[in-house]
Amino acid sequence: MMAAMTASTPLRLLLVNDTDRPMAQLHAALTAAGYLVVAQAQGAAELLQLVDSQSPDIIIIDTESPSRDTLEQLALMGHAAPRPVVMFAEQGGLPAIQAAVSAGVTAYVVDQVAASRLAPIIDMARVKFEEDARLKKRLLQMEEQLAERKLIERAKGILMERRQLSEADAYALLRSQAMQSGLRLAELSRQLINSSKLLG
């Protein structure tokens, strides 16, 4: 999968170049390694614009960059699809690296980067990011299912109390009403709960 992707469509990289570290020098090494450096951001505002306009696959940033908080917001609040971020840390900063694998951050590179070392790290970042994204999606689905189940339980409880129904009858009534009105069971339950609040 990776080989095909890098052969036909090279990974598009965005470099954040706003610290003393010579990130710009990475440009040549990355290009040689078969990546497409689509843009370089000199600051946070430019980084935001470039994330929007260029949709990079991977963002490469120094751990000491002031723009890191900008990426945290994108990752946590999901304004834009989160992207894997590769970071460059101070030499010997490995504990920080291990500790800081956060929402948007999937890999760190410790200083003195050789072009040969970059490719596997970037590929690893991408694979790990895709895994994380899948996991997150599954978790989200599970949370939604749980929330829906809670809604249905509450709606069932309201029916049981108001109409003196058994649990099974209340559920059957909800289901048949949902089918008749073409609503999802959870959506009907939400409406029932809301209107029962209004009716007191």
């Binding site: 600051g43 945290e72 946590l76 609040m77 304004h79 920080a96 800081a100 694998v101 949370e143």
Partner: protein, 367 residues
């Protein structure tokens, strides 16, 4: 006070803001050494860096956004890490600025929605960190005025030092941050302060002294002495005659690297609620009710769905350790440990009504 022969070194992180003053002042006045400590101050380029270095142990403690600590504790955007808040460092002193033309319209009574409609697009507003105080002040301010921060506006993060440039480039319509970054934007004519943060929540908590829970639990004596040194610094900072000297220290190249006059300007000029560092200790108590407010706001904006907010707060806010340290420096303790406040939308905090947690008068403005 006896000075121990051997000083215990503490690496402390801070971000270039006026309210990092307690750390700088404690060191300059030698309060750290009086407590048998040696502060090494490390300016950090981002809150993310503060967070990572607290987790990794490169920093023992730090000047931190109240919300940063709870984001770390709850694992919002990072692996969860057991954290401690040792004390509140300051109240107030933040603000919201808008581009000059928008600020004029706003001050003449135009609503934020009207301004946004005139622009023909959602307002582009910046804060400083997703779980931070400025994000929560900005979101609350918008929601209280009928603007949903996540739907009707585009809220992004820009580092405070880059706010002026972003305003000048027209990338932003406004921003919420600490000082002296509003003063700088105003001086450059690219933004005007429209709301002092004390208008949103009078005497709101702002920065705290944060460390990993481990330090507070395993070295309570060191943590206690750290709190004492900073309490003395906070008390010193609240004396108006000391402001000029503190501003001069903050102006240094390795600190804020900004002119002292600019730093001093806002400090003395706030009309709504001044920047307080101590107020006889009323500022510094790590009130559980303050922390609960942040958790409630995270829930409001869909950032946290957890339970047991009270238990989380009881484990993070180190009230017992604080009380001991405050007594040791002769500072009085607040009579009540829940601060009562009325916020800009008229809602009370904490909410004693016993009903479901209120999310402000405009409760429809939730996630």
């Amino acid at each position: 006070m006896t000075v121990p022969a051997c000083l215990h070194t503490l690496n402390l992180g801070f971000v270039a803001l006026t309210d990092c003053a307690p750390l700088v002042v404690a060191q300059r006045l030698g309060l750290d050494r009086e407590m048998g400590l040696q502060f090494c101050l490390h300016r950090q380029p981002s809150w993310s860096a503060v967070r990572d270095k607290l987790i990794s142990g490169q920093l023992d403690a730090a000047h931190a956004l109240y919300g940063l600590v709870y984001g770390m504790q709850l694992g919002l955007g990072n692996p969860p890490c057991d954290m401690a808040i040792l004390m509140t460092l300051n109240q107030n002193g933040q603000g919201i600025s808008l581009a000059p033309a928008l600020a004029d319209a706003y001050c003449q009574g135009a609503s934020l929605m009207e301004i946004s409609q005139q622009l023909g697009r959602p307002l582009a507003l910046a804060h400083t960190f997703p779980t931070g105080t400025h994000a929560m002040w900005l979101y609350y301010w918008l929601a209280a005025q009928g603007v949903h921060p996540l739907r009707d506006a585009r809220c992004v993060v820009i580092p405070p030092a880059q706010m002026s440039d972003a305003m000048q480039a027209g990338v932003l319509d406004g921003f919420c941050a600490g000082q002296p970054w509003h003063a700088l934007a105003q001086q450059r004519g690219v933004a005007s302060l429209v709301t002092d943060s004390a208008v949103i929540w009078p005497n709101h908590p702002e920065k705290v002294l944060a460390c990993r829970r481990e330090l507070a639990q395993q070295q309570p004596d060191v943590a206690g002495r750290l709190v004492q040194a900073l309490l003395l610094a906070c008390h010193w900072l609240d004396q108006p005659e000391n402001h000029a000297l503190a501003a001069a220290w903050l102006a240094a190249e390795d600190c804020l690297a900004m002119p002292a006059e600019l730093i001093l300007q806002h400090w003395t000029a706030a009309d709504a609620g001044p920047l307080h560092f101590c107020d006889e200790g009323r500022v510094n108590y790590p009130y559980p009710s303050d922390a609960l407010w942040f958790l409630q706001q995270y829930r409001r904006w869909g950032m946290w769905q957890g339970n047991d907010a009270a238990a989380v707060v009881a484990s993070v806010n180190q009230t017992a350790l604080y009380e001991q340290a405050a007594r040791a420096c002769g500072l009085s303790l607040p009579a009540v440990h829940d601060r009562h406040s009325v916020l800009m939308d008229g809602s009370h905090w904490p909410d004693y009504s016993g009903s479901a947690p209120s999310v402000g008068a405009l409760s429809q403005y939730t996630h």
